[in-house]
């Protein structure tokens, strides 16, 4: 229905009543204009519709109602008006008492359902009676009056928003078809306006939501950037708190992380808007609630702290005034590593809380990563420090310097004010320890009072029970219990932090202990303990090495000395022992010469015996000297071709002219000291010649590969040796024949044994009486070159 129709005024002069019609039309137009003005005056739909009822009464109704559909689809009487002001309440009462059950009401339901206008020009009494539930109801209806009614839908854009019900009662008017058209138009405009308002509101809300989401996205972005771009965690977290202020409109924000002792939480970063009331607070004030929140490991929100039962008693709440509080734990791997909290002057929207949850994860990860990096850096630093110490210590073999270095390094690494190393040496009373080195203070500071006693404090370290780390030793119950001192002795260095680490050698013995102190408490952390333990381990190794080196040097010096003495002895012996022998021999010869005629066979024989004993003596002396020298004089190993070596040996040994010596064709070459090997062959082959019963002894020399060694064998076809003597023959001066009848002193085999065993080899005999003998010995294929000459030049 277009307004064009409305514009057609009934022509004046259309007969009686036309003036009234005109008047009516004019009023209708005015009403329409007023409604138009009303509708465009406000976006508050409710208010507008309420005002609408006042407009239409009494112009086109005696009383009217507007019913709308609420979001749940329920019909709600939004507004009502009656020309008689007293009866307005009655209309509402009617609805209240008999909801949905008035003729007008029933009509409303239908109109709402169908969107079609429902009207009745004249309502018969019967209908009224029929609609009434009871006498009271009927009475009310009659009181209000229901002569004619018109219910039009309020619909816009195809949606039914509600219904406008108009009733003529006392005025006696009734609705006409033209009225219907008019009111429908009016209703349509009203509905459109209401719908526009709704749309507008929706748009506004949508835009607000978008704005919030945009801010939250920026917040997430800010947090991410803060944590990745800032090298230091503290700066990154500071940026995060600032972002909370900026993006969420908080007036105070803070982030707490676990403190270094791991006992509670400390404020790591915070930001506030100075001008705000909550900004007058220090984030520190929130500490107890933060702790509780961390304990609960769950987010906590209060949109009005003053009303929240758990918070409203707090002093800070009273100081801050009405604010919203939001706190979120920062959790990694199920552990609470921190808390994020903020105060805002406005309530926080639902999606804001979700955004907090997501950045909580990001921040938690950021903190954890920073911590992990720090740990890795610490590890690396520790390793480097310990390695540096190790390198320095490994090069030092002087014990004094070594121990001082150790103490200095360890004191530095521990971050101590002073440190000391005490050897684990206990005096007769079982009490003292020998102070050895000090670092950080001059030695006089310690010298003024006696050695640290075997107190309960030091004992565990020297017992090797592990490290001792005390936060503040002044408060430690173990300290200060030793008479005559009560507490810290006067003149003692001021110690609060205490760290002691035992130095344990590889064998498990406690060499000593490293002790560190600092006047401030809590200086030594787990890391310092670890570092010092690392140094102590290095120290133990270094000290062991220094000790071993010292001992080795001593031993070598002793050996040198001993060998020099032996050489001297040998030199002297060979002259001084032999000189008298020579004299005896010479004189006995002279006796024989000078007494020539007087000598009998017997006496001549006796003189002969005398001389032979002298010779024996000389032989024995030579034997001893040879034995003592054998294997002592070290020369450099060289490449020796044993076949050539044996050729030389044969030249040197004076065997019987008819002796046959067979040398195997595959005699090896080896890297060894030439002279000792030659000596062994010389003695064995010499023996074979010496003990041969025949004039043409047959001697065979062979070699065999024995893995790391060569096995050489010297066989002869001499008289052989019975098995029961196989052990005996190796002894010094052991012979199996009477001592006079052979030329040998019985030293040859002992020398062979000494030389071969000195090389780590074995020598043994295979022989049966009457069946010749084979001597076997092993010799390493490649001798190591011994540095220096152990036997002296």
């Amino acid at each position: 229905m277009s307004t064009a129709n409305l514009g057609r005024a009934p022509l004046l002069g259309n007969g009686p009543g036309s003036y009234r019609e005109l008047d009516q039309w004019t009023r209708a137009m005015r009403l329409m204009a007023d409604v138009g003005t009303l509708l465009s005056s406000s976006l508050d739909s409710e208010a507008v519709l309420q005002q609408l009822t006042r407009l239409v009464v009494p112009t086109i109704a005696d009383w009217c109602t507007i019913d709308v559909l609420d979001p749940a689809g329920e019909v709600v009487r939004l507004s009502a008006h009656h020309s008689d002001p007293d009866k307005v309440a009655l209309v509402l009462e009617l609805e209240r008492r008999y909801p949905g059950n008035t003729p007008a009401r029933g009509g409303v339901a239908r109109v709402l359902r169908t969107g079609q206008t429902d009207w009745m020009a004249a309502v018969p009494d019967t209908k009224l009676h029929a609609a009434a539930e009871d006498a009271e109801h009927l009475h009310m209806l009659e009181d209000l009056g229901l002569a004619s009614y018109l219910i039009v839908p309020l619909s816009a854009r195809g949606r039914i928003l509600g219904a406008l019900s108009l009733v003529y009662a006392a005025s006696g008017r009734s609705y006409t078809a033209e009225d219907v058209t008019f009111v429908e138009e009016l209703a349509a405009r009203a509905a459109l306006s209401v719908d526009n308002a709704r749309l507008f509101e929706e748009q506004v809300e949508a835009r607000q939501r978008l704005e919030r989401q945009a801010r939250q996205a920026l917040l997430v972005g800010d947090v991410g950037a803060a944590l990745t771009r800032n090298a230091k965690l503290g700066e990154g977290l500071q940026r995060c708190t600032e972002a909370l202020l900026e993006r969420l409109g908080a007036s105070l924000a803070g982030i707490w992380t676990r403190d270094t002792r791991g006992e509670g939480f400390e404020l790591c970063a915070s930001a506030r808007v100075e001008a705000s009331v909550a900004g007058g607070l220090d984030a520190q004030a929130l500490q107890p609630d933060i702790e509780r929140l961390a304990q609960a490991a769950a987010p906590f929100f209060a949109s009005d702290t003053e009303r929240d039962p758990t918070l409203r008693e707090r002093a800070w709440v009273r100081a801050a005034g009405p604010v919203a509080f939001a706190g979120h734990p920062l959790i990694i791997g199920g552990q609470v590593i921190g808390v994020m909290a903020l105060l805002a002057p406005q309530p926080l929207a639902e999606d804001t809380l979700t955004a907090l949850a997501s950045i909580a994860d990001t921040i938690a990860i950021g903190i954890e990563r920073a911590r992990a990096e720090q740990r890795a850096r610490d590890e690396r630093d520790t390793l480097e420090a310990v390695n540096e110490v190790g390198r320095a210590l490994a090069a030092e073999l002087d014990r004094e310097k070594l121990v001082q270095s150790i103490t200095d390094y360890a004191t530095r690494l521990a971050g101590a004010a002073f440190g000391a190393f005490f050897y684990n040496v206990v005096d007769a009373a079982g009490e003292s320890y020998t102070l050895y080195t000090i670092s950080g203070v001059p030695k006089e500071a310690f010298s003024r009072f006696p050695m640290p006693r075997n107190t309960k404090v030091f004992a565990p370290t020297f017992a090797g029970e592990g490290s001792v780390r005390v936060h503040d030793i002044r408060n430690d119950p173990r300290y200060g219990q030793n008479p005559p001192y009560r507490g810290m002795p006067a003149g003692h260095l001021p110690v609060a932090s205490y760290l002691a680490v035992p130095v344990v050698s590889r064998g498990g013995a406690v060499i000593g202990g490293l002790f560190f102190g600092h006047p401030e408490p809590g200086v030594f952390s787990e890391r310092s303990e670890m570092l010092v333990a690392g140094v102590a381990a290095q120290a133990a190794v270094a000290m062991d090495n220094a000790r071993l080196f010292r001992e080795a040097q001593k031993l070598i010096a002793q050996l040198d000395e001993s060998n020099k003495e032996l050489d001297q002895f040998a030199y002297v012996a060979s002259h001084d022992l032999k000189a008298p022998l020579r004299g005896i021999s010479t004189v006995s010869q002279w006796l024989e010469e000078d007494l020539g005629e007087v000598l009998t066979e017997t006496t001549r024989e006796q003189l002969g015996l005398l001389r032979s004993r002298v010779q024996r003596m000389e032989g024995l002396i030579n034997g001893i000297l040879a034995y003592s020298r054998a294997g002592r004089k070290r020369s450099r190993p060289e490449l020796v071709a044993t076949d050539k070596l044996l050729a030389e040996v044969l030249e040197m040994s004076a065997g019987p002219a008819a002796a046959r010596v067979e040398i195997a064709p595959d005699m090896p070459a080896l890297c060894c000291e030439r002279v000792p090997l030659q000596q062994v062959f010389l003695n064995l082959i010499g023996n074979a010649f010496k003990h041969a019963r025949r004039g043409d002894p047959h001697v065979r020399v062979t070699a065999r590969d024995d893995g790391k060694d060569f096995r050489f064998s010297v066989s002869d076809d001499g008289p052989g040796i019975a098995p029961e003597f196989h052990e005996r023959i190796w002894g010094i001066f052991q012979t199996l024949e009477p001592r006079d009848s052979i030329e040998g002193t019985g030293i040859g085999l002992s020398i062979v044994k000494k030389i071969v065993e000195g090389k780590g080899g074995r020598v043994w005999l295979e022989s049966q009486e009457g069946a010749g003998a084979t001597f076997h010995f092993t010799w390493p294929k490649a001798e190591r070159d011994v540095e220096g000459d152990i036997g002296g030049v």
Binding site: Y571, K578, A579, G583, T586
Partner: protein
């Protein structure tokens, strides 16, 4: 005694060894005068005393108390008066280092004791002949 006869200074502390030398000379009917010294100090003193004629030979043992043979040789070679004296070492020491040291001090010979008696006699005879022929400063 002819002027060309060699005087012998026998420096040895072993009396039997000394007797041996004398016996050898006697056996060979060698009449060279034999002077004796028990150690290097005595030997130097005898030489400096001028007890021996210029045509002389020192038979020197190495192993002696107070001043041994090598020490005597060193002292001899540093003494401008005595440095050209001929010395033959007569010793038990077969050590290379002794030989080297002796020749370093310009000995005219190095003989090992014990020498079997007959050959020792021959040796002395040869020495005498040799030195008889040799010019001396």
């Amino acid at each position: 005694m002819s002027e060309r006869e060699l005087a012998i200074l026998l420096v040895d502390d072993d009396s039997i060894d000394v007797m041996n030398v004398k016996r050898a000379f006697a056996k060979n009917n060698l009449t060279n005068p034999i002077h004796e010294a028990k150690n290097g100090i005595e030997a130097l003193e005898i030489l400096r005393r001028g007890a021996l004629p210029p045509r002389r030979l020192v038979l020197l043992d190495l192993n002696m108390p107070r001043m041994n043979g090598l020490e005597f040789l060193r002292a001899l070679r540093t003494d401008p008066e005595l440095r050209s004296t001929s010395v033959v070492v007569l010793t038990t020491s077969n050590e290379e280092r002794d030989k080297v040291a002796a020749y370093d001090l310009n000995v005219a010979g190095y003989l090992l004791k014990p020498v079997t008696f007959p050959s020792f006699v021959d040796l002395m005879a040869s020495l005498n002949e040799y030195w008889t022929l040799v010019e001396m400063p």
